[in-house]
C-alpha cells in the first residue's frame, strides 16, 4: 500500500497501536477457550515456521464476472471479464485512493481494531478485494477472489470489502487455497459486506487450504431495509481454522442467513462462531451450520442470536448439526440466545449424532459398498446447506471436495 492516502495510513498505524495496546490473548478468555490463540498467530508472533515453499495451481474457474488472485497476500490487479456498467471490482489497496469516496466510510466500520484479530489484520493486510455494485444493477455471474499461500510467507493476510447498493444484486466468492505445507503458515482474513435497502448478496467463503495452514477468518455482513444477505461458509482445509461470521440485521424486514458446512478429518481443528444481531424490527435471520467429523478431528460450534431491545417481530433461527463418522472424532456445539425484546420468535438447536449403523446396513444390503454408502449419507447430511448455493458448478465442486474426505 505504498500510495495509500493519508487516512488509510493513519488507520493502519492506529490498528498497529491498538494491537499493541490490547491485552495478549492467553486462551484463558471465555471466547478463546476452545482454540488456543497462539495456534492462530493471534499475538503477532508470525509463522509457527518451518514451511517450505511449494508451487500452487490456481483453479481454472470459468463463468466468472471478475477474478482476483493474491499469492501469499501480495497485491495483483483484478481481472475484469464481464461486468455491467458501473460495477467496480478492484484490488482493495488500489481502491483506497481510486475509490476513496466509496471505501473510506465503510472500511473497518464493521470489523475494526477493537479486538486483536481485527487489529492484526487491519495493521497488516497488503492486498484485498473491493466490489461495488451500484443501485439497481445485477451482476449475474459470481466475482471470485483467491487467496493462496505457498509457504513463502509465514503469515498471509486477506481483506474483502463488498458494497451492494439499493436493489442491486451480486455473488462474491472468497476462496482460500494452498498446497500441503511441511511447516505451518498463519492466515488472517476479514470480509466486510454492506447490502443497502432491497439489495441482495450471496457470499461464499471456501476454506480449502492444504495441510499446515492456520486460519482466523472474520466475516461480517450488514443488511439494510428488506435486504437479503446469504453468507455460506465451507470449511474443509487447514490444520486449525476459526471462522467468525456475524450477520447484522440493520434494516426493517432484512433477511440474513449464515449457512455453513464443515468437514474435519485427520487431526483438524475447526471452530465456528456464528452470530446474528437484530438491530431492527421485523427482520429474519437463520443460522444453519452442519458439520461432519472423522478420524480424531475436533470441531466447535458456538452460535448466538442477539436481539437487543427495540427489535419486535424478530424471526430468528439457529441450528447446528454434527455427524460423527467414527469413535474418536469429537464435536462440541453451544447454541446461545441473548434476547431482550419481548415480541420475538426465536429457536435454537444443536445436535451431535453418529452415522447410523442401520442406515449404512440398509444401503449396503442393496449392494452399495460401504464407502459409497457413507458418501451418500454424508452428502445427504450436507445437502440442506449445499442446496442454498445458487451456482450449480460451485455447489457440485464443493460437494465433491467434501465427499472426497470420507474414508
Amino acid at each position: 500500500m505504498a500510495d495509500a492516502p493519508a487516512w488509510a495510513t493513519e488507520a493502519r498505524d492506529e490498528a498497529a497501536a491498538a494491537f499493541e495496546a490490547l491485552p495478549v490473548l492467553t486462551g484463558g478468555e471465555e471466547e478463546w477457550r476452545f482454540t488456543p490463540p497462539a495456534d492462530l498467530g493471534m499475538n503477532g508472533d508470525g509463522a509457527a515456521g518451518g514451511a517450505t515453499t511449494a508451487s500452487i495451481d490456481l483453479p481454472a474457474t470459468s463463468g466468472r464476472a471478475a477474478r482476483l488472485a493474491f499469492i501469499d497476500g501480495a497485491p495483483a490487479p483484478a481481472e475484469v471479464i464481464d461486468l455491467p456498467e458501473g460495477v467496480i471490482v478492484a484490488e482493495l489497496g488500489e481502491a483506497l485512493a481510486a475509490h476513496e469516496d466509496l471505501v473510506r466510510d465503510r472500511l473497518y466500520s464493521l470489523a475494526g481494531f477493537d479486538d486483536r484479530p481485527g487489529a492484526l489484520n487491519a495493521a497488516s493486510w497488503d492486498a484485498g478485494t473491493f466490489v461495488y455494485v451500484p443501485r439497481g444493477v445485477e451482476v449475474t455471474l459470481p466475482i471470485e477472489a483467491v487467496l493462496a499461500a505457498t509457504g513463502a510467507r509465514g503469515h498471509v493476510f486477506g481483506r474483502t470489502l463488498v458494497i451492494v447498493e439499493e436493489g442491486a444484486k451480486a455473488t462474491v466468492i472468497d476462496r482460500y487455497l494452498s498446497p500441503d505445507l511441511d511447516g505451518a503458515v498463519h492466515a488472517s482474513t476479514v470480509v466486510e459486506m454492506f447490502v443497502a435497502d432491497g439489495g441482495e448478496l450471496e457470499h461464499v467463503s471456501y476454506i480449502g487450504w492444504g495441510r499446515g495452514m492456520r486460519h482466523q477468518a472474520t466475516i461480517r455482513a450488514a443488511a439494510g431495509k428488506d435486504a437479503r444477505v446469504r453468507s455460506v461458509n465451507v470449511t474443509l482445509g487447514g490444520d486449525v481454522v476459526r471462522v467468525e461470521p456475524t450477520m447484522y440485521c440493520r434494516g426493517t424486514g432484512s433477511d440474513a442467513r449464515a449457512l455453513g458446512l464443515y468437514f474435519a478429518t485427520g487431526s483438524q481443528h475447526f471452530e465456528h462462531r456464528v452470530v446474528s444481531r437484530h438491530e431492527a424490527p421485523q427482520a429474519y435471520s437463520n443460522l444453519l451450520y452442519k458439520g461432519a467429523i472423522q478420524d480424531t478431528a475436533h470441531t466447535v460450534f458456538f452460535g448466538n442470536l442477539v436481539v437487543p431491545p427495540g427489535a419486535p417481530g424478530t424471526d430468528a433461527y439457529q441450528t447446528n448439526r454434527n455427524l460423527i463418522l467414527n469413535e474418536g472424532a469429537r464435536a462440541d456445539t453451544i447454541p446461545f440466545l441473548e434476547i431482550e425484546t419481548a415480541e420475538v420468535k426465536c429457536s435454537h438447536a444443536g445436535a451431535v449424532g453418529r452415522v447410523d449403523d442401520e442406515h449404512l446396513f440398509y444401503l449396503m444390503s442393496r449392494g452399495v459398498p460401504k464407502l459409497e454408502a457413507k458418501h451418500q449419507i454424508v452428502y445427504g447430511f450436507f445437502q440442506e446447506v449445499l442446496d442454498e448455493i445458487s451456482f450449480d458448478e460451485l455447489r457440485d465442486e464443493l460437494a465433491d471436495a467434501a465427499r472426497a474426505k470420507v474414508r
Binding site: D356, D357, F361, M364, S365, V368, P369, Y379, G380
Partner: protein, 254 residues
C-alpha cells in the same frame, strides 16, 4: 440334483452375545418358494438379518451357503451383489439420500456396471407401475414420509429392480391392508420363476393365500421344528402354534 440356492446347516446366531438361533437346518432349492413361520421371538427375523449380513448378528456356529458361497465370509454389500435380497420388516428412513439416487446406485452395484440413465428411467417406470409405487416418490428421501404400505411396496420395488437370485421377505405382510397385500404379492408372483428362490418369513398365514409356498417350515425357539407342504400352513391357520408350545394364533387377527 443341483445344489440348493440356500443351504443352512446347524446355524447358530447370537445378538450381543445372546444366542438366538440354536442350530437351524434349512435348504431352499432354486426356483422354490418356502415359508418360514413361527410365533414371536422364535428367531425368524434373526435368520433374515443374519442372512443379509447385519453386523449386529454374529454367526457363532454352523454354516450358510448361498449359491455355493460361504456367506459368513461376505459383507452385506457383497451378499447383495451376489444376488441375495432382504425385504425388510422395518425399512429405515435415511434423510438426505434420495430414492432415485439410491435405487440407481443399488442397481449399478448389483449389476457391477453403470446402467444408462434412460434405461434406468424406463425400468423404474415399468416396475413402479407393477407395484403401484407413486413415481413422484423418486425425489423424496429414502423412506421418509412413506406410509407403512408405501415402505413395503418400495421394498418389493427394489427386489424387482435388483432381480436377485434369492429373496427373503421379512414380515412383508405386516401393516398392509388387503389391497396393498394383493399388489405386493402380485409383484412377488410376477418375479417368481426358475431363477428366483424365495423365503417368506411370516407369523400369519394371510400372505400365503396370495403367494403360494412350495414348502412350509415352522421355527420355534431358534430351530426348525417342523417342515411340510402347504397343508402345514392350513393346519397352523386352524390350530395356531399350540402344538409347538405357544398359545399364539397363526390366523391373522380380524
Amino acid at each position: 440334483m443341483a445344489d440348493p440356492i440356500l443351504k443352512i446347516e446347524g446355524l447358530e446366531v447370537a445378538v450381543e452375545d445372546k444366542p438366538i438361533l440354536k442350530g437351524v437346518n434349512l435348504e431352499v432349492p432354486q426356483g422354490e418358494v418356502h415359508a418360514l413361520m413361527g410365533p414371536n421371538g422364535s428367531g425368524k427375523s434373526t435368520l433374515a438379518y443374519a442372512l443379509a449380513g447385519h453386523p449386529r448378528y454374529d454367526i457363532t456356529g454352523g454354516s450358510v451357503f448361498f449359491d455355493g458361497k460361504d456367506l459368513a465370509e461376505m459383507e452385506a454389500d457383497e451378499r447383495a451383489q451376489a444376488g441375495l435380497f432382504l425385504a425388510m420388516q422395518y425399512p429405515v428412513e435415511v434423510p438426505g439420500v434420495s430414492v432415485m439416487n439410491f435405487l440407481r446406485s443399488a442397481v449399478n452395484a448389483t449389476r457391477g456396471e453403470e446402467i444408462p440413465v434412460r434405461e434406468f428411467a424406463k425400468l423404474f417406470k415399468e416396475k413402479s407401475a407393477l407395484l403401484q409405487f407413486d413415481p413422484s416418490f423418486a425425489d423424496r428421501y429414502l423412506n421418509e414420509g412413506f406410509s407403512g404400505g408405501e415402505k413395503k411396496r418400495h421394498e418389493i420395488l427394489q427386489m424387482a429392480l435388483l432381480e436377485p437370485k434369492f429373496a427373503v421377505l421379512d414380515e412383508t405382510d405386516s401393516g398392509l391392508d388387503v389391497d396393498a397385500l394383493r399388489t405386493v404379492s402380485e409383484g412377488v408372483n410376477a418375479q417368481r420363476g426358475p431363477d428366483l428362490g424365495v423365503l417368506i418369513i411370516t407369523h400369519y398365514t394371510r400372505i400365503l393365500n396370495y403367494i403360494k409356498p412350495d414348502v412350509v417350515h415352522v421355527m420355534y425357539e431358534g430351530r426348525i421344528a417342523k417342515t411340510g407342504g402347504p397343508e402345514l400352513a392350513e393346519q397352523l391357520e386352524a390350530e395356531g402354534y399350540v402344538g409347538f408350545g405357544s398359545a399364539e394364533p397363526a390366523a391373522a387377527p380380524r
